[in-house]
Symmetry: D3
Subunit: 118 residues, 6 copies
Amino acid sequence: MAHPFETFRKRRTAGNEKVLDTENLAIKRFFALDKTVYGDGHLPARTKELLGLVASAVLRCNDCIDYHLEQCVQAGYRREEIEEAIGVALMVGGSIVIPHARHAAESLEYLLAGQEAG
Amino acid sequence: MAHPFETFRKRRTAGNEKVLDTENLAIKRFFALDKTVYGDGHLPARTKELLGLVASAVLRCNDCIDYHLEQCVQAGYRREEIEEAIGVALMVGGSIVIPHARHAAESLEYLLAGQEAG
Amino acid sequence: MAHPFETFRKRRTAGNEKVLDTENLAIKRFFALDKTVYGDGHLPARTKELLGLVASAVLRCNDCIDYHLEQCVQAGYRREEIEEAIGVALMVGGSIVIPHARHAAESLEYLLAGQEAG
Amino acid sequence: MAHPFETFRKRRTAGNEKVLDTENLAIKRFFALDKTVYGDGHLPARTKELLGLVASAVLRCNDCIDYHLEQCVQAGYRREEIEEAIGVALMVGGSIVIPHARHAAESLEYLLAGQEAG
Amino acid sequence: MAHPFETFRKRRTAGNEKVLDTENLAIKRFFALDKTVYGDGHLPARTKELLGLVASAVLRCNDCIDYHLEQCVQAGYRREEIEEAIGVALMVGGSIVIPHARHAAESLEYLLAGQEAG
Amino acid sequence: MAHPFETFRKRRTAGNEKVLDTENLAIKRFFALDKTVYGDGHLPARTKELLGLVASAVLRCNDCIDYHLEQCVQAGYRREEIEEAIGVALMVGGSIVIPHARHAAESLEYLLAGQEAG
């Protein structure tokens, strides 16, 4: 059986294709802008991914957490650093964020295992 | 295997029955009021369903999106119109709404296919 | 003394100028996209303003309510129609939206008085 | 100069009158239902007011906090009990609730002083 | 097949273990504080669990609802009382809370059946 | 007349004193934990302040924005860097965050002017 993170990846890719299979220019531009926001600038791209992770956690969106978590791991953040970011999100967002901290812990374990194996 | 939209329909019906199998008058009146709000008035019912769809999208509730999406399709909104409403929701609610735009795209595809076949 | 709506208008204009007095392209493009989303398309611009109003109400943002309320009044929506949209927002968002319904009622009164006088 | 709580009371009364000065039945019924929900039932009315206070705090609505805070004080809750309810709200809702805990502390001080004087 | 509530229990336990398998002191202290907040004090522990339930419902977190629901049932709240608390949550949080009221109704049925059998 | 940021500082200090003038240990520990979360660790304190700023912006809390903004300026973040963080918050949180971007721009201008003068 596929790991939940793999299922997320497939669902995300397929879903984005469906959303972007449209004549709607505003939606296409929204998605394009969403990419450029996280690029290198005055802040390095990796810092922005960490910002995206914490924003996703306090807004309690597992799909968004998974996406930014993977970007953070690829950008070289270590487990201890990511845990501190999640700690900030818990503090700001409260215990209602705990289920998402659980989700993040599972996804992080998977991503770090893949990195070691990779 | 049932399409996720069919699963939603069954879960919703069964769940509402459980919620309303109660002596609690406030809950019953809340559900009754929820129905009348979307009826024809100074604004046509179909406009209100579109309002309900966008409200559900920015509040990021997939079940609520599915419910209003079906009402919108039955009220005759075309795919292009619904996509523009989702575009407004993305703009107002931000990228955190994207997973719900993905969900809406899948549900909409199912509902439109059913309409063609119907 | 200025009406609160006038104060909002001035604060909004001055604030937007400050935000946009920047080299940051993402912010400029975000604001530009925010405008185009509400233009005429498959849905008329006025319907989109009503969607923006309800989205703003359920997300409980008075400044956003004021902005879309003015657009709705200029687009010709009558008081009765706007009240029905607010009614949908109350139903979807709950009593926590009531303080914003109060705010909207005050702003609407001001905008309609101005229209009559205008 | 009037205490902020007095200003709130006046703004609330005037605002509610404006909202309810309407032919819109859904809005009137919504307000009516909002009252009956907090009446005595299987749970005493005072417990429900405390529930309303905590719900208002985690949803971060100062007007709603003020309203339920006054009901709680009138229902006989002591400062220590209300502080524990606010403590639950802080824990569930996180540090983003702190500004509302500050607001609640100011309002509570005013309400308790009035009660002593009364 | 396991009841969804049993699945929740296992997922929750396993997830918390993963989150707490860390050197991060802030996260450990956050979890510890989260426990003490619900203990007996000026308000009885059971009242605080009911506050936690309503806070979870208006913030729309099914895992949090399930957790506090079980605590409430163990603390002796009867179905009618819990329904009134959910009624307050619906009123405050709006129809967007309905899917969570459905979830709560299913979980409550399971918990009460277990209690009778126990 | 005092700058709004000065008013915020005074209100915040006075409010926190009122909240912490209590026997309630949970509230005191919550505030203490809130401080330690932002200290140097695996991530530098300044990165955590930027995380706190973006979390505050997407959760739309002006007081929280002001607090973290001041910490960010004191930690040496330049205007361009802070604008990019706000850009991420706008993208994630949507146009509903715009009024808070306006607020942040005003506060930032004040803080940077003070720094130059300082």
